[in-house]
């Protein structure tokens, strides 16, 4: 299963401020009543984007200035709570290709990597500089370079971290682990054979 090597992502960014933004907020549970992920994009952040009567709550994602943004910028502990992959799926289907935040909840970050969405962990100072540049000019081109672990924008740069081998996996095009896991089939059978409870 050859996968795209994800080395550079560039595009416009949109800042969704806040800490502890949970996956219930990213995709409310009622939209998970589905047997495919298709169509989740339109429900991204639904309850903070729309009032109950369907009118707009002027969320940054609906600001015409940020139309077409592919990089989402946020605060601490982004993606906490439920393990629902529906959250990164909704982001991806909406058109988001990378998330930059001060840090990420672990399950969310893993789910993102498996879909080829880099989770860029950056200092508050770095994210604030990008947010300021985007505020000054929403068309600011933000370029994420996984090889140098830097983000460049408006003549500035900021460095970042990526945890748990995700950076290597993305760069090498090995972000979806299934192919490698399948390759280990014989070793899996051998180990399972040694554990009593596996044959119970």
């Amino acid at each position: 299963m050859p996968l795209e090597k994800i080395v550079k992502i560039d595009g416009a960014a949109v800042f969704v401020p806040g800490n502890d933004i949970d996956t219930d907020r990213i995709i409310p549970a009622r939209f998970m009543k589905c047997v495919t992920f298709d169509g989740l994009g339109e429900f991204l952040f639904y309850d903070v984007r729309f009032n109950k009567d369907g009118s707009s709550r002027q969320h940054p994602l609906d600001d015409p200035k940020h139309k077409g943004a592919t990089i989402l910028l946020s605060g601490l502990n982004f993606g906490c709570g439920s393990s629902r992959e529906h959250a990164p799926q909704a982001l991806q289907k909406f058109g988001i290709r990378a998330v930059i935040a001060e840090n990420f909840a672990e399950i969310f970050a893993g789910n993102c990597t498996t879909l080829g969405i880099p989770c860029i962990q950056m200092s508050a100072e770095g994210t604030a500089r990008i947010a300021a540049a985007v505020k000054a000019d929403p068309k600011t081109r933000v370029t994420i370079d996984l090889e140098s672990s830097t983000v460049s924008f408006a003549g500035q740069t900021a460095s970042f971290e990526m945890k748990g081998g995700a950076r290597e996996a993305l760069i090498k095009g090995e972000w979806d682990a299934l192919g490698q896991l399948l390759d280990g089939k014989d070793q899996v059978a051998a180990l399972a054979g040694k554990l009593d409870y596996m044959s119970a």
Partner: protein, 480 residues
């Protein structure tokens, strides 16, 4: 924050080492998953991926399914009123039959919340690795298993290979020492831990819970603690197995029998953390310092003691906390600086994978007998599984609940996450024994949730406002 300096191995290390198949090129481990639990919400897409790739389920004998999130709790008659819910339960049934997976459906009499079903069937065992497409999979750690909540692509990975690509976690030992005061329960303990360490304090860690207060807990109380590990950011949480664990498991359907039981117990004993085990961090908490705890805000770390006041923005320690408090106060519409006790509630919910087992139901029934829910309060008791439901009925608890003005429902996730008809309306305020108080969590985008122990929910339902169970009920010291 300090490492233990010990030299021995902890349980996490032992179980991890025993399940590593190999190291992958990016440094992650390919980890064998001993038990895979699935449900209707996060598995259908995974089965779709398997079909597209023409793959089979690698270990169907180690994969078990049930239906919990979408199932209505007022009626079991199919087709359900919601065609989307019906579509999901149909998809699960089809997939289980197509791939040869045991399915605890309603007809089996063993359906329930996946984190209640696994333990009560004896599937959840010490020293094993467990995965499920649900973040509260950490619950199973109560047995000394390493249990991970995973996303749907990872559900696909486990179905297809019985393994996951995972980075190793650090381990934080959390000692709760001493005896819990009267009126303080497992739920109060875990809310207090999250309050102290933060909602992301556990990122990168597994939490090992121990100390005399945890040692004294029964398995269901330990499950309550481990259940909410993820609310503190810890992907896994566990308690070392002991005699309490073994006696809970003995005789259960999927527990080993005869000579295999004796061998299993020996193996289980061997996986417990050694006395001088090394930990990346150790936190000590005095059990006596914990009081009944309740959340006031929009994440589980927004917790205070029942006799404390709702925080103020001015009282917050830094800019981050100020922003968090301000956002929560605005959403919750609570008066800053006012006592949380006495806050009027609209709904009372006893249920969820955190608190819907026999220990919870027996305790609540004991104290609400002869009392009545306050006028105008909608109060629900939702058993965690059909086995819990049947046992409760056998003990006459259902009659006690209904006489006290609670609705007695069928087993499911119910109002915890509102993927079924049980939802808040508008900005109703719910006293809830569940695990998440996120904005909109209980089904209304303006609905409000206060997390608390089942007994505090019961006390609040009876008073019609947030109440201290120590004042509403005549509690007796445990073991008295």
């Amino acid at each position: 924050m300090a490492s233990s300096g010990g030299k021995g191995k902890n349980l996490f290390q032992k179980v991890w080492d025993a399940h590593v198949v190999r190291v992958l090129p990016n440094g992650q481990a390919q980890l064998l998953i001993g038990l895979h639990l699935i449900h209707e919400v996060t598995s259908p897409q995974a089965f779709g991926m398997l079909r597209d790739l023409k793959l089979k389920v690698a270990f169907p004998n180690r994969t078990f399914a049930t239906v919990d999130h979408i199932i209505p709790t007022d009626t079991r008659v199919q087709p359900f009123a919601d065609p989307l819910a019906q579509g999901m339960i149909d998809a699960l049934k089809t997939a289980c039959s197509e791939f040869g997976i045991t399915y605890f459906d309603v007809a089996s009499g063993q359906q329930g919340i996946v984190h209640v079903v696994g333990p009560e069937q004896g599937l959840t065992q010490p020293g094993t690795t467990i995965a499920c497409g649900d973040s509260h999979t950490s619950t199973h750690g109560a047995f000394g298993a390493i249990a991970f909540g995973i996303g749907t692509s990872q559900v696909r990975d486990v179905l297809a290979t019985q393994t996951l690509a995972l980075g190793k976690l650090k381990v934080r030992r959390i000692n709760v020492k001493g005896k819990l005061p009267l009126g303080v329960y497992a739920k109060d303990v875990i809310l207090h831990i999250i309050r102290l360490l933060g909602v992301n304090g556990g990122t990168g860690y597994a939490y090992e819970y121990g100390g005399s207060a945890v040692d004294a807990m029964n398995m269901e109380e330990r499950m309550t603690i481990c259940n909410m590990s993820i609310e503190g950011g810890a992907r896994a949480g566990y308690v070392n197995p002991d005699e309490t664990t073994y006696s809970y498991l003995k005789g259960r359907t999927y527990a080993p029998k005869g000579a295999a039981w004796d061998r299993a117990v020996q193996q289980w004993k061997s996986v417990a953390s050694e006395a001088d085990a090394a930990y990346d961090d150790v936190v000590n908490i005095d059990a006596q310092s914990i009081r009944p705890t309740v959340t006031w805000g929009i994440n589980p770390g927004h917790a205070i003691f029942i006799d404390e006041n709702v925080p103020t923005v001015e009282g917050a320690k830094d800019a981050i906390e100020k922003a968090s408090v301000a956002e929560a106060l605005e959403y919750m519409k609570l008066k800053p600086g006012s006592p949380i006790k006495g806050t009027k509630i609209d709904v009372a919910f006893i249920g969820s994978c955190t608190n819907s087992r026999m220990t919870d139901l027996r305790q609540v029934a004991k104290f609400v007998e002869g009392q009545h829910v306050a006028p105008g309060i909608k109060a629900l008791v939702v058993p965690g599984s059909m086995l819990v439901q049947n046992q409760a009925v056998e003990e006459g608890l259902d009659k006690i609940f209904t006489a006290a003005g609670f609705q007695w429902r069928e087993a499911g996730c119910s109002m915890c996450l509102a993927m079924n008809p049980d939802k808040l309306i508008d900005d109703e305020l719910c006293a809830s024994s569940s695990n998440r108080n996120f904005k909109g969590r209980q089904g209304s985008s303006t609905g409000r949730t206060l997390l608390m122990s089942p007994l505090m929910v019961a006390a609040s339902a009876i008073r019609g406002h947030v109440a201290d169970p120590r004042e509403v009920f005549e509690l007796e010291p445990v073991g008295a």
